[in-house]
């Protein structure tokens, strides 16, 4: 599968007047995103996600390292940019224009015009579910509608690569679901997506691969299945006795959601489920169910970022 994005040792340093105050926003990033992938690019605020995106789009310039996008070294070339759609975080769209006028403006920048542009506008507006609001002024749009019109301008040229910076941040659950459905459809159409987001659940639901960035350094990268390797076991218990919790804790097991009548015991991957069951049996607790539980992306994120933070502090 050909690489759509390829960076080698990509580094960005924001220089200040004093060398000691230089900010190393991105350091030696080696990243490859293949055609048809949905790549979730994660990291806390200030970790270098937006810097990476700006570098890929030629909005800022690398201090060192190389980039190739869609097989080309010249990322400023019109032929390359025509194949990229970009949705920035919190972008403004002129509120004196109607939804379809915004798309016409961006369409002209792509060099599109006439019936071809009109056809593409119709199709894109339908894709993002804005048919009913296309003739309304932007100033009357909700945040979710603005985000959808932003997505529409990114999709207008039917790009091979979509770069989305926080596409669902600040949206209500229904709008988030709608955007997620649109992105899933694009995945099914074979588009390559780079999604930078704080919404870890969203990313987990639609991404093939994820990378976690901290302090400008890529901490981990892989498919969701590869990374979410920690698998705990949950034991649901009813009628727990008083001494059970103490014994479980002593054995290193985590007791969650404990009430007088029921509780959940989480057995970490490195401990034996049989030992946990033996303790429960000895205490005459009733076992309702035993189920495996995969680590969530959020837990992985906290674990990876936490470890990187500790390493930095040490």
């Amino acid at each position: 599968m050909p690489a759509v994005i390829e960076t080698q040792k990509l580094t960005k340093v924001y220089e200040s007047s004093f060398r000691s105050q230089d900010v190393r926003a991105l350091q030696d990033l080696d990243l490859t995103i293949d055609s048809g992938e949905i790549f979730g690019y994660l990291g806390p605020n200030g970790s270098g996600k937006t810097t990476t995106i700006k570098l890929l789009l030629g909005l800022i310039f690398p201090t060192s390292g190389t980039m190739r996008i869609l097989g080309s070294d010249d990322i400023g070339a019109a032929a390359v940019k025509r194949r990229i759609g970009y949705l920035p975080e919190g972008a403004y769209y002129p509120d004196f224009l109607r939804g379809e006028e915004v798309l016409r403006f961006y369409g002209h920048l792509y060099g599109l015009g006439g019936s071809d542009l009109t056809r593409r506008i119709d199709k894109t507006i339908e894709t993002v579910g804005m048919t009913g609001a296309r003739k309304r002024m932007i100033r009357g749009y909700s945040k979710g509608m603005r985000q959808r019109i932003g997505l529409a301008q990114a999709l207008l040229s039917d790009p091979d690569l979509l770069i989305l910076d926080e596409p669902t941040t600040g949206l209500d659950p229904i709008a988030r679901k709608e955007i997620r459905d649109i992105l899933s459809n694009l995945r099914d159409q074979g588009k390559t997506l780079l999604i930078s987001s704080h919404e870890l659940l969203e990313v987990e639901l639609i991404s093939n691969r994820v990378g976690i960035l901290y302090n400008g350094v890529l901490q981990t990268i892989g498919t969701v299945d590869e990374l979410l390797t920690q698998r705990d076991v949950l034991i649901h218990i009813t009628d727990p006795t008083g001494g059970l919790i103490a014994k479980l804790n002593t054995a290193g097991l985590h007791v969650e959601d404990a009430t007088a009548t029921k509780m959940v015991v989480r057995v970490p991957e490195n401990l034996s489920v049989y030992d946990a069951l033996e303790i429960c049996r000895a205490e005459k607790a009733t076992i309702q169910s035993i189920a495996p539980r995969r680590e969530t992306l959020e837990e992985l994120f906290v674990r990876v970022v936490g470890a990187a933070e500790n390493k930095t502090l040490a």
């Binding site: 700006k54 002209h108 920048l109």
Partner: protein
């Protein structure tokens, strides 16, 4: 679509968008409305000023009216020019529209050209509006076609073009419109005072002190480099010649070439700053 047609369409799209957005700025509208009120009310205002001079009252009134209108066009016109030239690029960086535009197949050169053209559309439109009002007011006063005013407006535009180009260039390096606006005012004032620099050079060296000579040479250097905006002023001719006289003692093509040369220099400077600007 050919690359050239695509380039022209993209540039024109940015220019029209800049014009539409610029014309909605409240401060610009306020300046424009105020200038329109001054010009439209000039006849009324000058009628009070000339009440005590019965001899040649009509001529005096017309002269004062012309003075008021030419000054109003210069002041309000340059304020609009500076404000809009200083703000179009920084405001787009601030609201992130520039991210979506530059991520499209738009070269930085093309983007700047579109923005600059949009600024010129605003400046020209405002100048036409103010001149049209003055033209009508003067025609109603004198009942002759004030064609000299049209020549004056043409030259005033080239004066504004120079101020606009350098203000625009400085705005490309700025993060807000404040500093480029101040710099634009400085350019306008300095450009109108360059004749004084020649006087400084002529009078330097009288004390035989090296600093005196150095100031003289610096003044001469600045005089040679800075645009002389006074070249574009036909104010005295408007005040003292008949309104339908042709302009005198000026080489119009040379002045236009002079204005264009400085405008191109300003644009090249803007591009040189902007081509490696980090967003």
């Amino acid at each position: 679509m050919s690359e050239v047609a695509s380039f022209v369409r993209g540039t024109w799209t940015i220019a029209v968008y800049t014009w539409r957005e610029g014309m909605r700025k409240k401060i610009l509208m306020a300046i424009l409305i105020f200038s329109v009120l001054v010009i439209a009310g000039s006849n009324f205002m000058t009628s009070f000023l000339t009440q005590v001079t019965p001899v040649g009252e009509i001529d005096m009134q017309a002269k004062q009216m012309k003075d008021l209108c030419v000054t109003a066009i210069s002041i309000f016109g340059v304020l609009i020019t500076i404000f809009i030239s200083a703000s179009v690029v920084p405001s787009e960086v601030e609201n992130k529209v520039i991210y979506t535009v530059l991520s499209k197949p738009v070269r930085r050169f093309q983007y700047l050209l579109g923005k600059f053209a949009g600024v010129q559309l605003i400046v020209i439109l405002n100048l036409i509006l103010m001149t049209a009002l003055f033209f009508v007011a003067l025609y109603l006063k004198e009942r002759i076609m004030p064609t000299l005013l049209l020549w004056s407006t043409l030259l005033t535009y080239f004066e504004f073009l120079i101020v606009s180009a350098f203000t625009f260039a400085l705005s490309c390096a700025a993060t807000s419109a404040v500093l480029p606006t101040i710099a634009g005012l400085f350019i306008y004032i300095t450009g109108n005072l360059t004749e004084y620099l020649k006087d400084v050079f002529a009078k330097s060296g009288q004390t035989e002190l090296w600093i005196d000579k150095m100031i003289g040479y610096i003044s001469l250097g600045l005089y040679q480099i800075l645009p002389n905006l006074q070249n574009f002023s036909l104010k005295n001719q408007i005040l003292y010649l008949a309104s339908n006289d042709p302009p005198r003692d000026i080489l119009l093509p040379n002045l236009i070439a002079y204005g264009l040369l400085y405008a191109v220099a300003g644009y090249v400077m803007a591009y040189w700053i902007f081509r490696r600007k980090e967003m």
